[in-house]
C-alpha cells in the first residue's frame, strides 16, 4: 500500500513549521540548532516524497546532500555555540545583540 504524496508533503510542511516555530520562540541556542535540524529534515522528507512520487532516485540524492550539509552545519553551529558560551556565559541568543544598528 502506498501513502499518497499529499500526506507525505503535509507531514513535511508540519515538521517545517514546528521547526520554524522552534527557531523563532526558543531563546536557547542549542534548541534553536535542533529546530533548524528539524526544518532541514522536513525539507529532506519533502524531497524524498517528491522523488518517490515520480519514481526517481533524485529525491534521495538530494536528501544525502542535505544530510551532508546538515552535518557540516551542526559542527560549525556547535563550534559557534561554544564560542558564544565562553564569551557571554549564557546560551541566550538574544544576549548576543551587539551588532544592532
Amino acid at each position: 500500500m502506498t501513502i499518497p504524496m499529499e500526506y507525505g508533503l503535509l507531514l513535511a510542511a508540519i515538521l517545517f513549521c514546528i521547526g520554524l516555530a522552534g527557531v523563532l520562540v526558543r531563546r536557547d541556542v542549542i534548541f534553536m540548532l535542533m529546530s533548524v535540524e528539524v526544518m532541514l529534515n522536513a525539507a529532506g522528507l519533502a524531497f524524498i516524497v517528491g522523488g518517490a512520487a515520480r519514481g526517481s532516485a533524485d529525491g534521495q540524492v538530494m536528501f544525502i546532500f542535505i544530510l551532508a550539509m546538515a552535518a557540516a552545519e551542526v559542527s560549525v553551529g556547535l563550534a559557534l555555540i561554544i564560542q558564544l558560551y565562553q564569551k557571554f556565559k549564557t546560551l541566550d541568543a538574544d544576549s548576543a545583540s551587539q551588532l544592532n544598528g
Partner: protein, 626 residues
C-alpha cells in the same frame, strides 16, 4: 643684456619661494640676505637692462621677450611674454630700485618682529607680481600681476594679524579693490570678444581701425578699465581702503601704498591710452575724477592726527594729480609725477616709519614734537621729502613734476581753467598739510623721547631717496627754464606727445609764478598756525565739519549705510535661507528613513529569522497566487 629681462622678474619670485618654504628654519640674517638680495640683484640687472635699452636703442624700439606659450585653445593663446618699452621701463626702474631700498630699510625695521621671513616672502612676492603687471605683453598676464599685487597688499596689511582691526583693514582693501577689478575684467572680456586676442599691442594697433572715436563700445570698455584703475589707485569713489591700509608696517605703506601698487591704475590708463583717446568723454571723466580726488583727499589730510594717515590721504591726492594729467592727455607729465612721487612719498613714509618706531609705535603727531635735534638725518631727509611734496619752487623735483601737470591742466587741448584752479587749490592744501605734519612732528616742545637711533640700514635709503627727491626733477625742465626734455622724449617713444593750445613763455611764466606763490603761501599758513605752538597731546575734533573731513568725507559712513547694512540686514532676516529649506528638508527625510531602518537592525538573531520567514511566506504567496 635685454635677454636677461626674465631674470629681473624671476629673482623676486625665487626669493619669495625660498623664504616661504624654508623661512622658519632660516636664521634672520639669512632670511634678510635672501629677501633683500633677490630684489637688489633685480635692481642691478635692471640698471644694466636700462643702460642697454637707452644705449643700443636710441629710437626706443620695444624689446619683446617670449618665454613660453601659456594656453593655446582655439585661437585663445596668451603667452608668458614680456614687453619692455619706455613706459614699462620707467615702472620697472621705480619698482626694483625703490623696492631694493625699501627692502634694505625693512631688514632693520622688522628685525625684532615675529614672522621676519614671512614678511620678506610677501614683499618679494609683491615685487615679482608688480613686475609681471608692468612687463606683461597681454592682458591676461597683466591681470594675473594685478590680482597678485592685490593679494600681497592684503597679506601685508594684515601682517600683524593678531590685531583683528588689521584683518578688517586687509579685508576692506581686498573687497573694495575687487569692485574695480570686476569692472576691469568685464572690460577685458569685451576686448577679447571684439579682437579675439588679449595681446596689448595688437589690440592697441587694431582699436583705431575697428572702433570709431566716441563709439558706445569704446566708451563702455574705457569706463570699465577706468573702474579697475580707480579701485587700484584709490580714487574717488573707491578710495576708502587706502587710509585703512595704513595698518600695514611702514615699509609696506612706502612700497605698496605709495610708490608702486597704487599707481598701477596710472599704468593701466597710460598703457591703454589708445582706448581712452577713442572715448574722449571717458578721458574727461579721468580728469574730473582726479580733480575731485585731489581736493577730497587733500582736505581730509588736513585734519588727520595719525602721521601715516596724512601721508595716505596725500598719496590719494597726488595720484589724483596723475589722473588729471592722464585726463588732459599729458601722458609724460603723469609718468614723470609718478616717478618723482614714488621717490618723495616712499621717503616720507620711511621717515614717518622711523619716527613711529623710535617713539614706541606712536602714530599721533600731537604726541610728537621737537624731534629735529634728536633725529637729524631723519629730519633733514623728511624735510626734503616734504618740500618735494609741497612743490617748493626751483629746488625740488616735486615742483617740476607737479608744475608740469598744473600747467598742462590749463594749456593742453583738453585742459580747462577749472582744472587749473583745482590743481592750484590742491597745491595750496598740499603745502599746508605737509608742513602742518613737519611742524607738529619735528618742532615745538618734545612730548616723547626717542628710544633709539635708526641705524645705517634705515638712514641710507632715506638719504638716497632724498637725493633723488630734489635731483630727479632736473631730467625734465619746463620750456621756459632750461627746456630739458630727457624724460618726455623717452616716454614719447611709446606715448603720444601732449597737444597744447596755449603757447608762449609769458603765460607759462605767469602760471609758474602763481603755482610757486600758492605753495609758499600754504607753507606760510602752516608756519603761522602750527610752528612752535603748544598743542594739547590730542587736538580734539571739534565741530561737525572738521569731523566730516577727519573721517574722509564720510564715504565709509555712506557705504556702510547704503551697501553694508542692507546686505547684513538681508542676511540676518534670511539666516535660514529659504531655498536652502527645501534641500535641508530632503536631507532630514533621508535621516528619518535612516532612523526607521536602523531600528530593525536590533542585533537579535530571532528577529532576523522571523523577517526571513515572513519574507519567504510573502514571496511564496505572490509566486503561487499572482
Amino acid at each position: 643684456m635685454s635677454e636677461l629681462l626674465w631674470l629681473i622678474v624671476a629673482l623676486p619670485f625665487a626669493g619669495s619661494l625660498v623664504l616661504a618654504l624654508a623661512g622658519k628654519s632660516l636664521p634672520r640674517l639669512a632670511a634678510a640676505m635672501i629677501g633683500v638680495g633677490s630684489v637688489t640683484l633685480s635692481a642691478i640687472l635692471m640698471l644694466f637692462v636700462c643702460l642697454d635699452f637707452l644705449h643700443a636703442n636710441p629710437a626706443g624700439t620695444p624689446v619683446h621677450q617670449m618665454l613660453w606659450q601659456w594656453i593655446n585653445v582655439s585661437g585663445f593663446s596668451p603667452a608668458i611674454a614680456f614687453h619692455l618699452d619706455s613706459v614699462s621701463l620707467t615702472f620697472v626702474f621705480v619698482i626694483t630700485f625703490i623696492g631694493a631700498l625699501i627692502h634694505l630699510y625693512s631688514a632693520a625695521f622688522m628685525w625684532k618682529e615675529d614672522g621676519f621671513a614671512r614678511f620678506f616672502s610677501y614683499m618679494n612676492l609683491f615685487i615679482g607680481f608688480m613686475l609681471l603687471l608692468v612687463l606683461a605683453d597681454n592682458f591676461l598676464l597683466l591681470y594675473m600681476g594685478w590680482e597678485g599685487v592685490g593679494l600681497c597688499s592684503y597679506l601685508l596689511i594684515g601682517f600683524w594679524y593678531k590685531d583683528p582691526g588689521n584683518g578688517y583693514a586687509a579685508r576692506k582693501a581686498f573687497t573694495v579693490t575687487r569692485v574695480g577689478d570686476t569692472a576691469m575684467v568685464i572690460g577685458l572680456f569685451i576686448l577679447f570678444t571684439n579682437y579675439h586676442t588679449l595681446n596689448i599691442q595688437d589690440i592697441l594697433q587694431a582699436a583705431p581701425h575697428t572702433w570709431a572715436p566716441g563709439s558706445t563700445i569704446a566708451i563702455i570698455t574705457a569706463y570699465l578699465l577706468l573702474g579697475g584703475a580707480i579701485g587700484k589707485s584709490a580714487q574717488v569713489p573707491l578710495q576708502t581702503w587706502l587710509p585703512d591700509a595704513m595698518a600695514a608696517p611702514s615699509p609696506v605703506s612706502a612700497l605698496i601704498h605709495a610708490a608702486t601698487m597704487v599707481t598701477a591704475g596710472v599704468y593701466l590708463i597710460a598703457r591703454t591710452h589708445v582706448l581712452f583717446e577713442l572715448a574722449p568723454i571717458v578721458q574727461t571723466t579721468v580728469a574730473i575724477i582726479g580733480a575731485v580726488t585731489l581736493i577730497v583727499a587733500g582736505m581730509s589730510a588736513l585734519y588727520q592726527h595719525d602721521i601715516k594717515k596724512v601721508l595716505a590721504y596725500s598719496t590719494i591726492s597726488q595720484i589724483g594729480y596723475m589722473f588729471v594729467a592722464l585726463g588732459v592727455g599729458a601722458w609724460s607729465a603723469a609718468l614723470f609725477h609718478f616717478m618723482i612721487h614714488a621717490f618723495f612719498k616712499s621717503l616720507l613714509f620711511l621717515g614717518a616709519g622711523s619716527v613711529i618706531a623710535v617713539l614706541n609705535n606712536e602714530h599721533n603727531m600731537f604726541k610728537m614734537g621737537g624731534l629735529w635735534k634728536k633725529m637729524p638725518v631723519v629730519f633733514w631727509t623728511f624735510l626734503i621729502g616734504a618740500c618735494a611734496l609741497s612743490a617748493l619752487p626751483l629746488i625740488t623735483a616735486g615742483f617740476y613734476s607737479k608744475d608740469e601737470i598744473i600747467w598742462q591742466a590749463y594749456a593742453s587741448d583738453k585742459g580747462s581753467i577749472v582744472l587749473w584752479l583745482t590743481g592750484l587749490a590742491g597745491a595750496f592744501i598740499t603745502a599746508l598739510y605737509t608742513f602742518r605734519m613737519v611742524f607738529l612732528t619735528f618742532f615745538g616742545n618734545a612730548k616723547a623721547e626717542p628710544t633709539y637711533r635708526p641705524g645705517v640700514a634705515m638712514t641710507l635709503p632715506l638719504v638716497v631717496l632724498a637725493f633723488l627727491s630734489f635731483a630727479g626733477g632736473f631730467i625734465q625742465l619746463p620750456d621756459n627754464m632750461g627746456h630739458v626734455t630727457l624724460f618726455s622724449q623717452f616716454i614719447q617713444h611709446t606715448l603720444p606727445t601732449t597737444v597744447t593750445t596755449a603757447s608762449g613763455h609769458a603765460a607759462e611764466w605767469i602760471a609758474q609764478v602763481i603755482a610757486a606763490i600758492v605753495s609758499i603761501a600754504g607753507l606760510a599758513l602752516a608756519y603761522r598756525i602750527y610752528y612752535n605752538k603748544p598743542f594739547p597731546a590730542a587736538e580734539p575734533v571739534r565741530n561737525p565739519i572738521q569731523r566730516f573731513f577727519f573721517q574722509g568725507w564720510d564715504f565709509d559712513l555712506v557705504y556702510d549705510k547704503v551697501i553694508v547694512q542692507p546686505i547684513v540686514f538681508f542676511s540676518r532676516i534670511d539666516k535660514n535661507d529659504i531655498i536652502d529649506q527645501f534641500y535641508t528638508g530632503l536631507a532630514s527625510i533621508a535621516g528619518l528613513f535612516n532612523k526607521g531602518l536602523a531600528a530593525t537592525q536590533n542585533g537579535k538573531l530571532r528577529w532576523y529569522a522571523m523577517a526571513l520567514g515572513i519574507g519567504a511566506v510573502i514571496t511564496l504567496t505572490i509566486l503561487l497566487y499572482a
